[in-house]
């Protein structure tokens, strides 16, 4: 009887499947992600940065692991792609290629898989409520600091994230999005949601 261990989909297995998927999907330039989709994608990366203090190194390392070393050889190239988010202070004009977008989505999915234990802690209702509240406050504080540092705070969307009563719900949705994007089907789910007509 064949009974594989729980981690039979180890890092290598997961990464090779991502590369296959990437080659398949990046060659099909069918989808164009709109302005809101780009905003959302960049905000997901900001959430990752808020959760992980070493995320800038982790992003480059992960990009290399999943085969996007040529797309993101250094942090400047990654920043250039992320700067297409219209909410940023230093916003770059022009459209991103479908390959760049796919690479960013893969990066978000791989990083969320890496950070899954943290995402799980934040989302679980079985954690002690006091501890959970503290975690959320810490996350919220760091997320808002990063938003103030990088985004154009005169934009209404950013002001809503920083001051609105619903900002906690918004942050929770971003964390849930990351958690649901961490599995093997996460790429397709996240990509499809970024292609929604509302984006």
């Amino acid at each position: 009887m064949n009974e594989p261990s729980s981690d039979f989909h180890n890092e290598t297995g997961f990464d090779s499947s991502l590369q296959e998927q990437s080659t398949k999907l990046s060659l099909s330039p069918k989808g164009h992600i709109g302005r809101k989709g780009l905003e959302r994608l960049d905000l997901l990366l900001v959430v990752i940065e808020a959760l992980d203090l070493n995320s800038s190194d982790a992003m480059l390392w992960t990009a290399k692991q999943i085969g996007f070393e040529e797309t993101f050889p250094n942090s400047v190239s990654l920043w250039k792609v992320r700067s297409h988010n219209p909410l940023r202070k230093a916003h770059r004009r022009g459209n991103l290629s479908s390959m760049d977008i796919d690479a960013l989505i893969h990066l978000v999915c791989s990083l969320s898989k890496r950070l899954y234990p943290l995402l799980h802690q934040l989302l679980s209702s079985k954690e002690p409520s006091e501890l959970s509240r503290e975690r959320w406050l810490k996350f919220d504080e760091r997320f808002k600091d990063l938003i103030k540092e990088r985004m154009n705070t005169r934009r209404v969307a950013i002001q809503n994230i920083l001051t609105s009563n619903e900002s906690m719900t918004f942050n929770r949705n971003l964390v849930l999005t990351l958690a649901l994007s961490s599995g093997l089907g996460g790429f397709d789910r996240l990509r499809a949601s970024l292609l929604d007509p509302s984006n």
Binding site: M1, S125, R172, L180, D188, L195
Partner: protein, 198 residues
């Protein structure tokens, strides 16, 4: 032994699958082509088991539901005939399971976001496992239609553009009615009626 057993664990969720290769389709040992049983354990919750149809219903309901959650679309329970139903219930996810056995009451499970993502992770692994050659018939992840997104919005959000437009039209028309019409505009010579000269 020909019978295969695969286990998928992710935090609170554990899914066990048992089956055999479908030799009539040329499948070899180490493959599951015919599913004989499955067992899902959610720690702190309950243990579920059933036939292939039940697992298929679980996969075809839960994965599209997760896709909708990413788009922020809330789902209400609609079809009581399905063996598995999943819908939003406050800040939780209500998964209703109906047994095919007579006299067994439906089971309602309230999953939090973390449990849902664990379950989705396990189901994703089954769906993408190259050793399981079963057609689950899962719809592809596609962008939502405008209709689906509109249905999810509140009545206020849906009617706001109409009322804003209507109010703007009424106010503009009212202002134009109030404004007096010019009686004599300098520099404009009235047209001559040439037909009266003849």
């Amino acid at each position: 032994m020909i019978k295969q057993k695969f286990i998928y664990n992710h935090n609170l969720a554990s899914l066990e699958i048992e089956g055999l290769p479908d030799f009539s389709n040329g499948q070899t040992e180490g493959i599951i082509g015919i599913l004989s049983s499955w067992k899902l354990t959610l720690i702190g919750s309950t243990e579920l088991e059933g036939k292939k149809e039940h697992l298929q219903a679980l996969i075809t309901q839960v994965l599209p539901y997760a896709r909708k959650q990413i788009s922020g679309i809330s789902t209400r329970k609609v079809n009581n005939l399905l063996p598995v139903n999943i819908s939003n219930y406050g800040d939780k996810h209500l998964m209703s399971l109906s047994s095919s056995r007579e006299g067994v009451q439906p089971l309602d499970l309230y999953l939090d976001d973390a449990e849902l993502s664990d379950l989705v992770f396990c189901l994703d692994e089954i769906r993408h496992d190259s050793r399981i050659l079963i057609d689950w018939d899962i719809p592809l992840d596609k962008p939502m239609t405008k209709g689906e997104l509109v249905r999810n919005s509140s009545i206020l959000e849906r009617t706001m553009p109409f009322f804003t437009g209507a109010i703007a039209l009424i106010v503009t028309s009212g202002l134009l009615v109030i404004l007096p019409m010019p009686t004599n505009i300098e520099g404009i010579v009235p047209k001559q009626d040439f037909s009266s000269n003849n």
